[in-house]
Structure formats: C-alpha cells, structure tokens
C-alpha cells in the first residue's frame, strides 16, 4: 500500500470533537501531480479531514505521512513548512493588510520571494497590490488566498470549497489554475461543484457520516452521475 512514491498517506485516521466521533478510520493516498477530490454532503467530515491533515485538529488515532515525515502532533505552522498547506473555505484574507503585505507574509513563512508564479496565474492581483485586502471581491480574495499559499512550492495543497459563492467565469479560471498547479503540487480539493470535480480530478473519495464510502479512481467512474449517488 505504502509505495513510497505517494506525497501524502493517511491511514486509520479518526477524529473526535469531545466525546463525539466525527471521522472513522479514514485512509487515502495522494500521488505526485494528482488532483484528489472529496465529495459528500454537508457534515460528512470533509473539512474536518483537511483541518486534521493541516494540524488544526488532533486525531485520536491514525497516521498522516507526507514524504516519510509524520505530521501527527506537529503544530500547523510546521506542517505548512513541510509543504502541506491548507486553504480554508472562509475566504478571509487579512483585510487590514494590503495585497502586497498578504503575499509578503506568505514569502516570509517560506523564504520564497519569487512572486512570478502568483502573478502568472492571477494577473489581476498585479493591479491590486496596494489595495487593502478587505476591499477585494470574493473572487479576488480566493485568488489571493491561493496565491499566498503557493509561495514556497508546496507539495500538497488542501483546498476547501474554493468555488463556493463565486461567479462562473472565476470558477472556470480557477479550474485552469488548478490544472496548472497540479504540474508542481498535488491537490486535495473539497468541492460541491461536481462538474468541476469530475473535469479535473484523478481520483475522487466520496464521504458520508465521517467515513469514506467510495473511491473512484478510473475514467469510467469519475462521472457526475456516479458521484451523485453518494450525495
């Protein structure tokens, strides 16, 4: 199972909030340049899974391994430094800071001061550099959040509901960006937009009530109709 070529291995992962168990025995793998999607109803445990991988929640059991390093018990900032970065769904940028300062913080954390990839993916950010991030639109915020996360060439990006509430044109732009990003980093995307998921994913995990109920890993099964069964 553990081939060593995987960027991220999760095995037997269980998570509780107090005495209420919310994730049961989760196992998943992410290979290089893969886009892996998690689909499922609200409350299925998708966000909890990402937060747990990123270190914001401590699992009660199980292992999370990224390139031979165990992530369990590390603080979130160490996990981010190891190249596993979480992009939350709340679309909260640091609104009191300018776009430039937001990116500077990403650079400060990773010591990567080359912003060219960011401005290539999101040319629009170039014109907004000195604007306070609080004045950005929802789409621009999402661009900024992805932009500051991809500094330092992360190995795995954990993207939580990236297209929620965004205009269709931005969604299709993001779709292309994810494809481009996957050439350098692997992605785990939690997403409700099934057509988007099916268009870009190499593998889909369907979740329900804190368990992975299906793994769709081939062309034939990665279809909207198949995914819908699990929602």
């Amino acid at each position: 199972m553990n081939t060593g070529s995987n960027l991220l291995d999760v095995e037997g992962l269980s998570v509780s909030y107090g005495s209420a168990k919310v994730l049961f025995d989760i196992a998943l793998t992410v290979g290089p340049s893969q886009i892996v999607a998690c689909v499922g109803r609200n409350g299925a445990g998708k966000t909890t899974l990402l937060k747990c991988i990123a270190g914001f929640l401590k699992p009660v059991a199980g292992s999370i391994t990224a390139s031979a390093a165990s992530l369990v018990g590390l603080p979130p900032y160490d996990i981010a430094k190891l190249g596993v970065k979480y992009i939350p769904q709340d679309k909260k940028v640091f609104s009191d800071l300018t776009v430039r300062e937001n990116l500077e913080l990403g650079s400060y954390a990773t010591k990567d001061y080359n912003w060219e990839p960011v401005t290539t993916y999101f040319p629009k950010l170039k014109t907004l550099m000195d604007r306070k991030a609080g004045y950005l639109s929802g789409g621009e915020r999402q661009m900024l959040m992805i932009g500051r996360a991809i500094l330092g060439n992360p190995k795995v990006l954990l993207v939580d509901e990236p297209t929620e509430g965004l205009a269709p044109s931005i969604v299709s732009h993001l779709k292309n960006v994810f494809r481009e990003l996957s050439k350098k980093s692997a992605l785990i995307i939690v997403e409700q937009n099934l057509p988007l998921v099916c268009a870009i994913s190499d593998k889909i995990y369907a979740m329900n009530d804190g368990r992975i109920v299906a793994e769709l890993a081939n062309e034939a099964s990665i279809r909207v109709e198949v995914c819908e069964q699990y929602l």
Binding site: Y17, G18, S19, A20
Partner: protein, 328 residues
C-alpha cells in the same frame, strides 16, 4: 424519589459537616468559613452557570457591608434590620449596574467588574470619607442591641443564625439549578444564539442571575459587618479581588458544594500560612496558578464523581459539568 433524596442528602451532609466542625474547631474560624462560603456561592453561580467570571465580587460584598454599617452606625440598633438594609442595598446596586454589565462580552464583564471593585474601594476610602470615616472604618459593635430569640451579637448564636442562612441559601441555589431558570442560565453560557431562537431573552436571564448572585454576595457582606461589628474599606481592597475566585476554583467551579469545600480549605490555609509566614500572597498566587494549570477542577470537582460512585455504587453516575454537555 431518588432525586428528592439526593437533593436533601447532599445539603444535609455538607451542613452536618459544618455543624460537626463547630464542635472541634474554634468558633471564629467556623463562622468565617460560613460567611466565606456564602460570599463565594454567588461568584460560583455566575462562573459555573452563566459563564461570567467576576473579579468584582468585593464591590458587592462592600456594598452589603456598608449598607448594614450605615444603618447600625447612624440610624438603628437592631442587627436584623441592619442585615436587611445590607441585603436591600446590594439588591438595588445590582439592579442599577446589572442592566449595563450583563450586556457586555464576558471579557469586558470581568474587567469592568474589577474596575468597579477598585472604584468602590476609592469611594469608601476617600470620596465618602466624611460618612465612612475613611481607612478608620465604622465601628458599631457596641451600638447593636441584643435581639430576642436568637441574639446574633453573640458569636455562638451568630453561628446558629449564619448556619440557618447558609442552609437556606444552599437549598435555594439547589432549587434554582433544577428549575427551568437554571437550565436557561446554563444555556446562555453554552450557546446564547440557540437560546434566543427558543424565544428566551439572554438579557433578562443574565440580569436575573446577576442580581441573585450579587444580592447573595451583599448578604455575606452584611453578615460580615454584623459579625465583626466594624467595616473598613479594606473589605474591597483590590488585593482581595481574587478571594472568591480562588475559593471557588479551589473547591471546583460550578459545583454546588465547591464553595463550602473551597472556603474550608482557603480559610484553613490562610490561618495556617499566616501563622508561619506573614506573606500571604506569595503562597496564594502560585497556588492559584497551579490549580489552573492542573486542570481547574478543584478539590470538590475531583472528589464529587468519586464520592458518588462510592455512595451510589450500583447506579450509573452522571458526571458533572463538561462531559454531560458534550454527551448529547
């Protein structure tokens, strides 16, 4: 049936313990424990049930004490009426500041209360010095006349009175815990939004809890005043702001008997330590830090589940506080 038994059983045990202490320990010590536990239960209720921590309890204690003192020094001689005067002034003070304070977020609430305690201290020490006699305090021990039936100007009969008052207060708080009001209080602590959806007003629940708790504290203040026969601004000195907080944490916050256990432990320690070294803060400060770092369950919080298993061995034991919240 078992519930009714539980009800009285706990209170009866706690108070027979106090009565037993009367036989073995010096009277002033037991009296102090009684007053202190009444002082602490208001604070304990606010913290454990409503989720408000108040560093300003000495303010309400002083208001009750000075209410009593003013009556006994300037107007009358009957200590019972003095206690009523203290109770009334505490109730009125809580009604005045309450509507303003309970609107605040819990962090602001804690800070504003602390500021209130310091202000009451200044008020009594300097601003109202012509009436309060400043740092000298008001002395009225000889002003009080003996009362028929129960002469509370005498320490031994004061004990009986304080004992009865304490018993009544505990019965009252136990009753509150079991009523819908008690449940609402707990609900404002855990999830105020949801409570509002159910059609309850957070504001009025919190105000009621605030007034009840601080009137109790004022009552403790007036008991103090009558017992000592004097009141000085020292009673609300900022250095003592943490006293009730330490007591309830020592005992276990939010548990019904925590304040009693905490008062016994605190008064005992204070007695012993101040005999050994004069420097009380040096012990109580680190102790407070250690209690907090060790898990803030306190003495009673640790003992209670253990006692319950011991006494109701065959019954399933519902753990107090936290776990019962998360369980459903």
């Amino acid at each position: 049936m078992r519930k009714a038994f539980d009800w009285w059983w706990g209170i009866a045990l706690a108070f027979s313990l106090l009565a037993a202490m009367r036989a073995f320990l010096p009277l002033p010590f037991v009296n102090e424990i009684l007053i202190f536990s009444i002082y602490a239960i208001g604070c304990s209720f606010l913290l454990g049930r409503v989720g408000f921590i108040s560093f300003g309890q000495p303010a309400y204690l002083a208001i009750g004490a000075y209410g009593t003192a003013f009556y006994l020094f300037y107007f009358g001689t009957n200590p019972y009426i003095g206690i009523l005067a203290g109770l009334a002034s505490g109730f009125i003070a809580a009604l005045i500041v309450g509507p303003l304070f309970v609107r605040l977020r819990s962090d602001y609430f804690a800070l504003v209360n602390l500021a209130l305690a310091v202000i009451v201290f200044f008020l009594m020490q300097k601003v109202l010095a012509p009436i309060t006699k400043g740092d000298n305090g008001l002395w009225f021990l000889t002003n009080m006349t003996s009362t028929p039936v129960l002469d509370i100007t005498r320490p031994s009969q004061f004990f009986v009175f304080a004992f009865i008052v304490g018993l009544a207060i505990w019965a009252f708080y136990k009753y509150l815990d079991d009523t819908l009001f008690g449940a609402c209080c707990l609900a404002t602590k855990i999830n105020e939004d949801k409570l509002q959806f159910l059609g309850y007003s957070n504001f009025s629940i919190r105000l009621a809890a605030f007034v009840i708790a601080n009137t109790t504290t004022a009552l403790a203040g007036s008991l103090y005043a009558v017992y000592i026969g004097a009141v000085s601004p020292e009673i609300t000195s900022p250095a003592r702001a943490a006293d009730p907080v330490v007591v309830i944490l020592l005992g276990g916050a939010g548990t019904l008997y925590g304040p009693i256990v905490g008062s016994i432990a605190y008064t005992g320690m204070k007695d012993v330590i101040s005999k050994l070294i004069g420097n009380w803060e040096m012990i109580i400060g680190p102790l407070l830090v250690i209690i907090m770092l060790a898990g803030e369950k306190g003495i009673w919080g640790t003992l209670e589940p253990w006692l319950k298993t011991l006494l109701f061995r065959n019954k399933s034991v519902v753990p107090q506080k936290n776990s019962s919240i998360e369980g459903n």
